[in-house]
Subunit: 142 residues, 2 copies
């Protein structure tokens, strides 16, 4: 496992000690072939299925939020009942299918660069996200 080193590095940079549980969280998040979206509960379920390690909700919350602070994960802005996170921290955007509660990536090439001309004194822009809500297209919309 050459990966472990990277995970320990990520954890240390996030101000967390590398523990069994946290390394398992890293494996699930950063060892996947593709980037993906998840909720905390889904992440807990994946860990339970993949490993014989028990990880509590609290640990997952803490670790995920430490990674967000460090920029290893992104929170997807959505007024949903639960928070959605993304392992893809590159610049990209999302469709949100309101009927199926499903997120779909929009590659950055598919959206013109968002250029915000206004600034707020003393503040800098941390992130820019585009959310396009989509619904069924039943031709004749009343």
């Amino acid at each position: 496992m050459a990966y472990a080193e990277q995970y320990i590095e990520k954890l240390r940079k996030s101000g967390l000690r590398p523990t069994k549980q946290r390394i398992k969280i890293c494996e699930v998040l950063f060892d996947a072939e593709k980037t993906f979206h998840f909720t905390i509960k889904e992440l807990v379920k994946i860990i339970e299925n993949q490993a014989n390690i028990k990880v509590s909700l609290a640990t997952v919350y803490n670790t995920v939020h430490a990674f967000i602070r460090k920029g290893y994960l992104k929170e997807i802005p959505l007024n949903a009942s639960q928070s959605y996170y993304d392992t893809n921290v590159t610049h990209h955007h999302h469709f949100f299918d309101e009927e199926e509660n499903k997120l779909i990536d929009i590659h950055q090439d598919d959206v013109d660069e968002v250029n915000i001309k206004r600034t707020i004194p003393g503040k800098k822009i941390k992130s820019v996200e585009v959310i396009a809500k989509i619904v069924s297209d039943n031709q004749s919309q009343k």
Copy 2:
């Protein structure tokens, strides 16, 4: 009060009968000089301060959601602990100040048109929102 007519119209179009409580909600939402952002709790507080009418949380939730369905209000996509709504339903975007939990409008002229080239079969885009998260700019960011 010539306004009442408009409110009754809005309520009827939203599938709601015009009742005392609902008209009061309309007054607060649509009679303001400027558009504004609010949470459900804030809205309830405003009504309590402005009028001697008691309105329950449930009624406010129901009415606000009916208006959103009809397009008289917009929900602002944000992964915050509570939902934010906007009486400004014209095309515009937002800064979200993460440190002060404050929303700031970005006029549409200050953002280049967001053009999404990708489509999802059977779906149409209902709304496109840009959220720019901002934080303090302490020059030397560690």
